[in-house]
Amino acid sequence: MVAASKENFIVNDKSAVLAPDKLIRHVRLARLLHWLMAICVLVLLTTSLLPIAEIKFSWVTLHWVTGLILAVTALTHILWSLFRTRIRQMVFGLRDMQDAVRTLLWFFRISGQEPAKPGKYSPAQKLIHHGFAVTILASIVTGLLMMVKVDTPLWERNPYWLSNASWGIIYIIHDLASMLLVTMIMLHIYFAFRPEKRLYLRSMVLGWISRSEYASHHDPTRWENK
């Protein structure tokens, strides 16, 4: 039933010593980058939103330093994804669109036809990934621009670098990205802990899924690992 061999699933993870019934879904570097970005985003949201709730502390330095760590982590993830992984696995194409519609029709009992099994990532996983990518990149770019207005060891602040109107647009994009992240993180954590999705949470912690999970949740012809 499972067409691919174990070796086909172990990519770039020399430390992976698995039982025969386990398959690598996320290699160590992918997991490390995911959790590092998660910690950075949570620290950034906490340091920016707590002062709004009248919890005052010196948050600016912690905020921009964490922002820089997030920027480096995101850049590493992008470069690693482009050069060392199969980027096609994460592309949201026409077939994903059809699968998403079919899933929604089945979910709401409009159609009895079950959705097709996905490849490595389901349409929903691809969409939340791309949503996080756009939102986090928007917050990084605007955050880096806003650093011009902060004194750092490398430069003195220059609040007049852009016009008031331009700064206003940058603030709006940064704020909107932050608020969207609140909603998206809530949904991401909720789905990660749902019983039927918990295998993906485990794979993001430990790296593996079982062969039976692979057979029941994925289409071997769509999960390319050659």
């Binding site: 709004i52 079950e114 109107a165 608020m179 909603t183 949904l187």
Partner: protein, 51 residues
């Protein structure tokens, strides 16, 4: 509810400061309502898998 935040600069001009923090509750509520509705739906009317 305000959509945008403004402040006055040194010359008394109105300067855009970003989105109103009131909107934070809107985004939080959207997430919370989605989670509650999805959890209730999955509990009461779980989609049936044949395989």
């Amino acid at each position: 509810m305000e959509i945008l935040r403004y402040s006055s600069n040194a010359w008394g001009q109105k300067a855009l400061e970003g989105l109103s923090w009131d909107l934070l509750w809107v985004f939080f509520s959207i997430g919370a309502v989605f989670i509650v509705l999805h959890a209730l739906y999955m509990w009461l009317l779980p989609p049936k898998k044949t395989s």
